[in-house]
């Protein structure tokens, strides 16, 4: 850790001024801000867009204001980043290119097929391209920029450009449907609606119920929190085991 700025993922925040899609720029906490016991007055500005942009959002609808109780549970930037990384790891799969395709089945043909076969694009690239295409169709955003950096970013925050969102979300009241069955015409109209985009089809946010936490060591309820790193443990015994790791991490 010679230069803390170069290793901090948030030091690049000021460069976002070049991105026209980011309406509000806010400085994120940079260096380590350990959560300390006690309290402090903070300015309540309601919804924090820079924070929601980092969170693994549902992408379909704008996040509503968090209730007061949940706001106190808001994660620190570092915890949020760690959570995003963990979710990404849990969804990871053996898509690495370290396993070579046997020579017998290597691409030999030419033309368009060869382009597809030898494509190095992964899922995140295709998703970014698709979102850029939809945004361009909607006329709001400039055509896709073919740069690796942008692709990676939009792979994380997939909340942009979801036209043609679900019509009947919510209770479905007021869409003028019949109580009994549908006419053939209505069914036809229903089936003719085009598919949603990948992000728009994602499940909605969980309900109001408080999130459950678990002991990181044994998997029982996480009844206590480590003051150093915020990890949850169930009791003294697991805390002792956790401390071994925790000291190693933050020594």
């Amino acid at each position: 850790m010679s230069n803390p700025l170069s290793t901090n993922p948030f030091c690049s925040v000021p460069t976002t001024t070049h991105r026209p899609t980011m309406p509000q720029i806010e400085l994120l906490p940079t260096t380590t801000n350990p959560s300390v016991p006690g309290w402090a007055y903070v300015l309540d500005r309601g919804l924090d867009p820079s924070r929601t942009a980092l969170a693994p959002t549902t992408g379909r609808r704008p996040r509503t204001l968090l209730p007061a109780a949940a706001a106190s549970e808001q994660l620190s930037t570092r915890q949020q980043a760690a959570l995003t990384r963990r979710l990404h790891d849990l969804d990871r799969d053996g898509t690495g290119r370290e396993v070579e395709v046997p020579a017998k089945w290597k691409a030999r043909t030419g033309g368009v097929v060869r382009r597809i076969l030898l494509s190095e694009k992964g899922w995140s690239h295709h998703l970014a391209d698709e979102e850029a295409r939809i945004a361009a169709l909607a006329g709001g955003a400039p055509p896709p920029v073919e740069s690796g950096k942008r692709r990676v970013r939009s792979g994380i925050s997939s909340g942009v450009g979801t036209p043609g969102g679900p019509v009947g979300s919510g209770t479905g009241a007021g869409t003028g449907e019949l109580e009994e069955g549908l006419t053939a015409q209505e069914v036809e109209r229903l089936l003719a609606v085009p598919a949603l985009s990948f992000s728009a089809a994602r499940a909605g946010p969980p309900g109001e119920r408080a999130a459950r936490t678990f002991c990181e060591i044994c998997g029982y309820w996480g009844r206590a929190r480590c003051l150093k790193c915020g990890a949850r443990v169930c009791g003294l015994e697991c805390k002792e085991q956790h401390d071994v790791e925790c000291r190693r991490k933050f020594a």
């Binding site: 290119r97 479905g172 003719a192």
Partner: protein, 443 residues
């Protein structure tokens, strides 16, 4: 266009045999269908290229002969449920459908292809698939369809205790809600007469892969370093996991207790798993819990008396499948599967909702987890108005159910001809025409 292709196109048309491929991320379900298909015609082929610890490469069905899965690395052409890498997929398909000793060998020029895809697929990937099918493999005709839709052609009434028609030529089910819980994700698709209601399709980003990775993480903390042992951990998951009908009760029962108040865990919830050593044993074995044998996840050093590597599984058995019902347990900001089902149905007109709740089926590998259906039934029941009838069932073989539906459709030659696009048509109209056609003319 090359003259060779043009010549092939002139003789192309709808053929008598159809290759039905349900191209999943974990396994390909495939088989050649002529008439009256049965589930035995379906071959389950691992959809991966794997490299074992001695750098030997295994393609698709070759893995059935493999014994040593220690530190096996996998490359999967289907990512997040979508066919992304055609270089690897072509090798697996070639090995499964074209090679000399292929498991479902057939000549593409004499075969129709019915291929499935996951819902909400990016258009670029769809076009890639279309082009590869017609320009690389040169199938005579082809139809690409959403995987869940094919389930409508199965014998749905018999799943709900109704009379089995036994007739494979019947049309699709009128109203059907298909919950497809596979390797990459879980999708909820409402179908009307076998057509998907696109704007009501919802996806929960948790599938079997996520559960395996979660278990891998848990075991690495508590028992042994499992991060490189995807295959072994997947075996453990399939052999031992279950969906708890009362999560907090079971969590209490499997708690070791605090430092000063030890508790005895409920032995009925614990199992021992004997890991394979890949020398004399190649498969793990589940054993009833025995507190006398030394365990890898106990703090005490393993004595040399027993050379078996044994892991005791307690809350690990049900904590992973619990994620399907509570994704927020790992901090994922998505609702659980029961709420996703409600969300999907609520996107439909009011008149259709009762028949969707009354005709819900669960397919995909996760449907095999014990307790899954019961828990889903209970929670959906709690979330729906009491006047609605909630019926959720799962076919006998939820993994091959989609394929079987596709095979039954393929056996109805007239219906099949309506949805297939011949290679000649493709060469005449081009790829973007095909894209539009499959988007509007599903089966």
């Amino acid at each position: 266009m090359a003259p060779r292709s043009a010549k092939a196109a002139s003789t192309a048309g709808v053929k008598n045999q159809t290759l039905v491929i349900d191209n999943g991320a974990f396994t390909i379900k495939a088989g050649v269908v002529a008439s009256s298909p049965t589930i035995e015609d379906c071959k389950v082929i691992p959809n991966c290229i794997a490299k074992d610890s001695v750098k030997k490469v295994w393609v698709g069905s070759q893995l059935d002969q493999c014994k040593d899965f220690g530190e096996m690395a996998f490359r999967r052409p289907v990512e997040k449920g979508y066919l992304v890498n055609w270089e690897a997929e072509r090798a697996i398909w070639g090995h499964s459908f074209l090679a000399e000793n292929a498991v479902a060998k057939c000549d593409p020029h004499e075969t129709n292809l019915l291929l499935t895809e996951a819902p909400n697929c990016p258009q670029a990937l769809q076009t890639n698939t279309d082009q590869i099918i017609f320009e690389e493999f040169e199938y005579a005709s082809y139809c690409r369809t959403l995987a869940p839709t094919l389930n409508a052609y199965n014998d749905i009434p018999s799943l709900f205790g109704g009379p089995s028609s036994g007739d494979s030529s019947q049309g699709p089910a009128e109203c059907l809600l298909v919950v497809d819980s596979g390797y990459s994700h879980t999708t909820v698709t409402p179908l009307i007469n076998g057509h998907p209601v696109q704007q009501a399709i919802r996806r929960l980003d948790i599938g079997g892969k996520f559960l395996t990775n979660y278990l891998k993480e848990q075991l690495s903390i508590r028992a042994f370093y499992a991060m490189d042992e995807t295959w072994i951990v997947n075996e453990i998951k399939e052999a031992t996991s279950f969906v708890s009908d009362n999560f907090s009760r079971d969590l209490e029962r499997t708690w070791k207790g605090g430092k000063t108040d030890r508790r005895s865990m409920d032995p009925s919830l614990l199992v021992d798993y004997v890991l394979p050593d890949f020398e004399s044993t190649f498969r793990g074995v589940v054993r009833p819990y025995d507190h006398t044998t030394p365990k890898m996840n106990s703090r005490a050093p393993v004595t040399s008396a027993s050379r078996d590597k044994i892991v005791t599984l307690g809350n690990e058995r049900f904590a992973a499948p619990e994620l399907l019902f509570n994704p927020s347990d790992v901090g994922m900001k998505e609702a659980g599967l029961p709420a996703v089902i409600i969300e999907s149905v609520n996107a439909l007109p009011l008149g259709l909702r009762p028949s969707m709740f009354a005709n819900t089926i669960v397919v995909g590998g996760n449907a095999l987890i014990p307790g899954f259906l019961e828990r889903l039934r209970r929670e959906v029941r709690e979330l729906t108005p009491s006047e609605y009838d909630v019926r959720i069932a799962s076919p006998e073989d939820p993994i091959r159910s989609t394929w079987l539906g596709g095979a039954r459709l393929a056996a109805q030659h007239q219906n099949l001809a309506n949805i297939l696009v011949t290679r000649k048509e493709y060469l005449e109209h081009g790829a973007s025409w095909l894209l539009r056609r499959f988007a509007t003319h599903g089966p």
